[in-house]
């Protein structure tokens, strides 16, 4: 559509790569949604994240891809796993990951999917592959520290608050528990 044909081989390779990565992401997501074991869910989530990271690379967003890997895979996921283990242990994951109301959920989600697909198709997106720089890191950094400096700083404060908040939330309970015990 938008991308002008340059070399058939190249084209097919990039297309193949896209489908492979998209497939990884989608399969991972499906695993998250349908797995009975929450550990599996978490691991599927990792797969999905990695697929998405690959997609970022194709889209020329190498920096974002790096952040995705580092933050999601390295941070969020590990955190999630810790939480899982702290809350249930591994023995009774089966029970704890059960789902409810699958049928109405499927109905609603598929309805939503149809509507959204319709919206995506109907909208007249400007669709053309635009020339971007080799590496996005420089540009993103530039944008962050010039036009987006204020949100950037706010974000840092938010993170600080999160840091403190997380500590307070978890720590307080420990004290309370100590007192009660």
């Amino acid at each position: 559509m938008g991308v002008g044909p340059s070399s058939m081989e190249n084209l097919s390779l990039s297309v193949l790569t896209f489908y492979a990565l998209a497939g990884t992401a989608v399969v991972g997501a499906a695993g998250v949604a349908f797995s009975r074991n929450i550990i599996y869910s978490a691991l599927s989530l990792m797969v999905s994240f990695l697929g998405v990271a690959g997609l970022y690379v194709i889209l020329g967003a190498d920096f974002i891809a790096g952040v995705q890997v580092l933050l999601y895979v390295g941070g969020v996921l590990v955190l999630t796993l810790f939480a899982v283990m702290l809350t249930q242990g591994i023995r009774d994951v089966e029970v704890s990951n059960r789902s409810v109301g699958r049928i109405p959920a499927i109905v609603i989600v598929s309805g939503t999917a149809v509507v959204m697909y319709e919206a995506v198709s109907k909208a007249g997106w400007a669709d053309k592959a635009l020339a971007m720089d080799e590496s996005s890191t420089y540009a993103v950094g530039n944008a962050l520290l010039s036009d987006y400096i204020l949100p950037f700083e706010v974000a840092s404060i938010v993170l600080l608050a999160v840091l403190v908040g997380a500590v307070v939330l978890t720590r307080k309970e420990v004290v309370a528990e100590d007192e009660s015990s």
Binding site: T112, M116, A119
Partner: protein
């Protein structure tokens, strides 16, 4: 001064002058700040010694200055000491500056001389007083203020002293303040004096501005004397400005010098320690009004009407106070009314324009009245603070020195020649006779009464049997030397002070009047009533003298019959006119009670009323405004609730009903919420897409 048409004033300067008032001030400061410590560590003697040394040194300085002044030619007898500028705003220039002229000299000699004696006496009198330091500090402060009053070279300096003596008087009357009555007496003195000060200040303002309108605004005495003729033709409120000013000033004098209608504080002031009564309420402070009028003689000469007022008030006071004195039983009260009465004489003197005579009586009175008060103090001290004469008697055997000095002073005040009182009183009566015989008659009657009640006092106190209880009698003794020597000196003064002013009629040259001549120079040229005028009728003068002496003798004899021989029963006299007259006099004509009701209760009532007004009306309006606002908002709220909100409420109850049903949606189940969210979002998207 552009207006200085008069003779050029030749003045001398001396930096010594400032130390006359300053020394007592230093003494006061030391005693106030560290007096209690000195007293604790070094005893009461140290405190008293310090306090006595200061006025004594001042006395030496005064004598030195006096001799210096005497060395100058008559018209150069002014010594100035300019310390620093005090108030210089616009054309108003008042400085901290002192002026020593013949009049100040006389006053200073009296104040520091008698003052020092009384300090010595106080050392004996206050021998069991734990707060002696406070007493002596106040006494010294009083000396300072009084010296400022007489030495100040302008009206504001005089006012500084004027109020300062009032303050000290307040502090000393209420010295034993744990008795509420004493504290009350002090307050009464201060507040009544304030009424006088009110008049005094207004007089100063009026004088200043009237002169200022002629380009000669000043408050300095010697400049006033030179430029006061400028205001001769100014009118205000239907009379001359000079009259209004002098009347205002005289209001001040009535307050300070306890004249009708403001005399009421002086008898109450006897609540203070007796040396205080002697110094402040007999010899010095109460004569400030006389001094002030003598000082401003050039102005009073321009206002003959004021002269009449002063003379009338003086005569009335002399008579009126004497009548009250007849019936009092408290030894100090008798002396107090006698003081009021004698002050009346002085005002007769200055009122008729015989300023020198008024001041002369002031001086002699200072001697014998101080002596009388100190003598009474000696008695009270010996009697353990008993003041009622009915409980005394026969004291001459126990306290011979006190008795003799007291007797001499009594004879002096009764006007028996050749003691001091005779000369000064007859000088005034003679001048008064020339002015208006009616005034003379009143003064003459008062003189007789004075002789009577003073001897009544002597007889009741020193003669007959002692009516005190056993315990007191056993301890009766003559007072210590600290107390008796001042008495002796004052008694000597009471005998000889009169010779300073022997009138020409008795072969004297009236040194006193001559000495004051430079200060009173204007009075001779003033446009007022001239009493010095030539026709000295010697026969008449001798006749009057003889008459008054005879009348005084009668009074003494009557007292002797009633209170010594007891051949006439005083109670019988008291029953004349059904005893009502006696009751009336005994209760001081109920003047205090009337004042209490009219002024004190009146102003308190007004105060309460205004306070109520303030709280309920003014603040009521404020709070009312707040309440109205609240009310309006309340009504508004009601309307809102029932009318506007009525509709809304119907809707609300509908919503409530619906909500009651619908709230079940609020299950608390996150899933349920999520479903709703998703469905709604999808629906919206759906609507937007198709």
């Amino acid at each position: 001064m552009t207006a200085a048409h008069g003779h050029e004033i030749v003045t001398h300067t001396s930096n010594l002058l400032r130390w006359i008032p300053l020394l007592p001030l230093i003494g006061a400061a030391i005693n106030f700040l560290v007096g209690s410590r000195i007293q604790r560590k070094m005893g009461r003697g140290a405190v008293a010694g310090l306090a006595t040394a200061m006025p004594a040194m001042s006395f030496v300085l005064v004598v030195m200055s006096f001799l210096q002044l005497k060395g100058y030619p008559t018209d150069e007898r002014i010594i100035i000491d300019h310390v620093w500028k005090w108030i210089h705003i616009g054309t108003l220039n008042a400085d901290i500056a002192f002026q020593f002229d013949p009049l100040s000299a006389v006053m200073c000699l009296v104040i520091t001389g008698i003052g020092s004696l009384i300090h010595v006496y106080s050392h004996g009198y206050m021998d069991d007083e734990p707060a002696a330091w406070r007493f002596f500090a106040l006494l010294n402060l009083f000396m300072f203020a009084m010296l400022c009053l007489v030495l100040g070279d302008n009206l504001l300096m005089m006012f500084l002293g004027w109020e300062g003596v009032g303050l000290c008087s307040w502090g000393l009357i209420g010295f034993w303040f744990s008795e509420m009555a004493n504290a009350r007496a002090g307050n009464k003195a201060f507040i009544v004096n304030r009424v006088g000060d009110f008049g005094f200040t207004l007089g100063v303002f009026l004088l200043f501005w009237t002169l200022d309108s002629h380009g000669a605004g000043t408050v300095v005495f010697r400049e006033l004397a030179n430029s006061v003729h400028l205001i001769a033709n100014d009118q205000l409120w239907g009379t001359t400005v000079a009259t209004v000013v002098t009347l205002f000033l005289f209001v001040g004098a009535t307050g300070k010098s306890a004249q009708i209608p403001l005399y009421v504080w002086l008898p109450d002031a006897m609540a203070g320690p007796t040396p205080v009564s002697a110094l402040i309420h007999a010899a010095t402070m109460v004569t400030a009004g006389v001094y002030m009028i003598a000082r401003m003689n050039f102005l009073f000469d321009m206002a003959p009407f004021t002269g009449q007022v002063i003379t009338t008030i003086g005569a009335l006071t002399a008579f009126f106070a004497a009548t009250i004195g007849l019936a009092q039983n408290d030894i100090k009260k008798v002396l107090a009314y006698s003081t009021v009465s004698q002050l009346g004489y002085m005002f007769i003197g200055v009122g008729v324009g015989a300023y020198a005579a008024g001041v002369f009586h002031l001086v002699t009175h200072a001697f014998f009245k101080a002596c009388l008060f100190l003598g009474s103090g000696s008695i009270i001290h010996a009697m353990h603070h008993e003041q009622d004469m009915r409980n005394m008697g026969g004291l001459k055997n126990y306290m011979p020195r006190t008795y003799w000095t007291f007797l001499i002073a009594t004879i002096a005040i009764a006007g028996i020649p050749p003691l001091a009182g005779f000369f000064s009183k007859d000088e005034i009566l003679w001048k008064a006779f020339n002015y208006n015989p009616a005034i003379w008659a009143v003064g003459f009657a008062a003189a007789g009464m004075t002789a009577f009640y003073m001897f009544r006092l002597v007889f009741m106190t020193f003669f007959g049997e002692c009516r005190a209880d056993h315990h007191t009698v056993e301890h009766l003794h003559e007072s210590s030397g600290f107390m008796t020597w001042p008495l002796v000196i004052l008694a000597v003064g009471s005998v000889f002070a009169g010779f300073l002013g022997v009138p020409a009629a008795l072969g004297g040259s009236n040194m006193f009047e001559q000495w004051l001549e430079p200060v009173m120079a204007h009075s001779a040229h003033g446009g007022g009533h001239d009493v010095h005028g030539g026709h000295h009728n010697l026969t008449l003068e001798y006749g009057l003298m003889a008459g008054s002496v005879l009348f005084a003798m009668c009074g003494i004899f009557l007292a002797h019959l009633m209170y010594n021989r007891k051949s006439i029963n005083p109670d019988g006299i008291a029953q004349i006119a059904g005893g009502r007259l006696h009751t009336l006099i005994y209760n001081k004509y109920y003047i205090d009670e009337i004042y209490q009701v009219v002024w004190v209760d009146g102003s308190l009532g007004l105060a309460k009323m205004l306070s109520w007004f303030d709280k309920n009306v003014v603040d009521g309006i404020v709070n009312g405004a707040a309440s109205v606002t609240k009310l309006v908002s309340f009504i508004n709220g009601r309307i809102d609730l029932h009318v506007v909100d009525g509709l809304v409420n119907k809707t609300a109850s509908l919503v409530h009903g619906v909500g009651g049903a619908v709230r079940r949606i609020q299950t608390g189940s996150i899933n349920a919420y999520l479903y709703v969210i998703v469905i709604v979002v999808t629906a919206v998207l759906f609507a937007r897409t198709w």
